[in-house]
Amino acid sequence: MDVRAQVSMMFHLDKCIGCHTCSVACKNIWTDREGTEYMWWNNVETKPGTGYPTKWEDQEKYKGGWKLKSEDSPEDKDKIKLRASDKGRGFANLFHQPNLPTIDDYYEPWTYKYNDLFDSPAGDDQPTARPISLITGEPMDIEAGPNWDDDMGGSTVYAANDPDFADLTMAEKKAFFEMERMVFFYLPRICNHCLNPGCVAACPSGALHKRGEDGIVLVNQNVCRGWRHCVAACPYKKVYYNWKSGKSEKCILCFPRLETGQAPACFHSCVGRIRYLGVVLYDADLIESTASAPEDELVDLQREMILDPSDPDVIAQAKRGGMHDSVIDAAQKSPVYRFVKEWELALPLHPEFRTLPMLFYIPPLLPVLGRLENGTYTIDEKDYFGSLDKARVPMKYMARLFTAGNEEHVRKTYEKLLAVRMHKRVEQVGDLNQDDVDGMLKATGLTVEMCEEIYRLTSLPTFEERFVIPPMHREYATELMGDPYTFKAETGVGFANKPKRGL
């Protein structure tokens, strides 16, 4: 058992209102420079939809993540390889990476010639501010943007091409787009800070790395040589190529903020308070075996990797590995641990990419199609779980997103979420049959106490309960660099030189 700590995340999709405040907070801090205008380290997508970059989930197109070697040759069982480039192909593709998306897969960034509004001579027409490219500076026609299909805008053109429709029949797909059944939800995405990151594995220079103490995945800008394999290898397309500096960049989980005890900007600014952050302890010896497990076991095995931070054996092993008491303490208070491991409510996004993402999602409850009867909205269901079968978003679709297509699995999560809801309803509204609700609790293995705790941490958590940030022990990092007083009150590593494009 090799106990390591990971700053892990959980997004509660039921609470996301799609306001993009997180994206804007991130953009204003990190990606408002030339070469990064098109990057959204944090973005919010409408589902169903094609996302950003367009159709990023389609690995037939982008070849991101890992796949079982046995998919190619059956005798190579239980081992995985990068879909885009292993070591051999990594070298062969140095001169041209065949799976690198181009800027047109994202969008060409633009601004407007606002000055024309002021400087135009008097005339018969209103002056207009023409869009100009932020790359070339020339006038351009806007063809796409980071949220081009926001709120299902142009759904028959964009959302209809959602790669997650793969398992749905033609009829089910069509039903999605009937006006009365139209439904969508939001999917905010940042870097998953995976346990088995494809980007790190694909980097020929070794510039990408995972920080041992907190698991944050970073690109060392001074080691990166612009080989671009990380962009192709990340199945979530969360490593971006800075076309100006010739280096790759990605979400840094606001580590300078974390190091000073503040939540990352996107977490801090979240209006719906959907975001939770905390440390989980995991067994690093299980990374390889978990990542190469059969698809339907991926979610369970990833949960098994996460260790109980109150278990004396785990604590002893963690201390042997040099983990600070304060980190173990933070892990015991981690809201992410409770949602993911204790209550088994939160699921990883697309576990079938086999990178073991450490950002977990609670899937949104799915509205059903009901009708008005004597002034009451009714859905014609005796059994409250039955509403899952009538949900406007089919279980199959949610299973494709969160459980590698395993419908049973995603259903179990939903039954728990429904049970908590019904439990609170019978308590506060009192219009349900208590025996039915007790039956639901029994079927899902929840107790009344658990329901109360889930409810509390979902609906009424304080800032400190949502973000349990471990001390980052920056003093250890500066020990390596020399005299700690030199680095007093500093965060991050910083640039000795201005990061301008090389010769």
């Binding site: 070591k87 041209h96 070339t136 020929p204 070794g206 920080r211 494009r501």
Partner: protein, 227 residues
């Protein structure tokens, strides 16, 4: 001192000193600037038809120059039989043409695509032009001064060894045709240009990728992993 002595007796040393001193200085003072500065993200299709033929063509041609430089006698012996000479010359020409094809494509792409022009520095243009002159001079030599592979081993290789022994024998090259002299001068110009351009990317060939584990984990404290 004659012009030949300047160009072939002094300039090579100047170029080598430049490449060593400036490369090291740049590496330690501005490591961020070390990058292949790939522009594939802005334009991918034409880059494929430029970059791939260029790199594979020039790598084989450079490798040929290096091998002949190291074992000139073996090359001369190989060339002793006509069909073997033809095989060597034709393949050298083929890879040279491949490199030229790629290079022309790269120049065309850089000149015509407005996005690529935006990420083109003056040194990029200088470098592309010097490379073009160098490849054309090399191909010219291959086609018009037969058989290059043999007399390269007879003239250029002893000249380069004389440079290494610090007693440059300029007389070996001063009688050569203009295009060949241009090619030799161009070669040392590229050596001198290396630290001032994106050419530095060829010094960062990521060989350690071959033996490092896929995952890289960096710990703050060296002694933190005691188990």
């Amino acid at each position: 001192m004659t012009l030949d002595q300047m160009l072939f007796g002094v300039f090579p040393y100047l170029a080598v000193v430049l490449v060593i001193v400036v490369t090291i200085w740049r590496y330690f003072s501005d490591r961020f600037s070390y990058s292949s500065l790939s522009s594939q993200f802005l334009e991918s299709k034409k880059l494929f038809w430029g970059s791939v033929p260029w790199h594979y063509g020039i790598l084989v041609v450079l490798g040929g120059h290096l091998i002949s430089f190291l074992i000139p006698r073996t090359i001369l012996a190989w060339n002793g039989v006509p069909w073997r000479l033809y095989v060597l010359e034709v393949s050298a020409l083929a890879f040279g043409l491949l490199a030229l094809l790629g290079l022309v494509m790269l120049i065309y792409r850089r000149a015509t695509n407005p996005r690529i022009r935006k990420v083109t520095s003056i040194m990029d243009i200088v470098l592309l032009l010097v490379l073009l002159v160098q490849v054309v001079a090399g191909l010219w030599t291959t086609i018009f001064f037969r058989w290059g592979s043999s007399w390269y081993a007879g003239f250029a290789v002893p000249y380069m060894w004389s440079l290494i022994r610090f007693s440059p024998d300029v007389s070996l090259v001063s009688s050569l045709p203009f295009m060949v002299k241009l090619h030799i001068f161009g070669a040392f110009s590229l050596v001198a240009l290396l630290p001032f351009t994106r050419l530095v990317h060829l010094l960062s060939l990521p060989l350690s990728y071959l033996w490092r584990p896929y995952q890289v984990v960096i710990w703050n404290r060296r002694d933190s992993r005691r188990n």
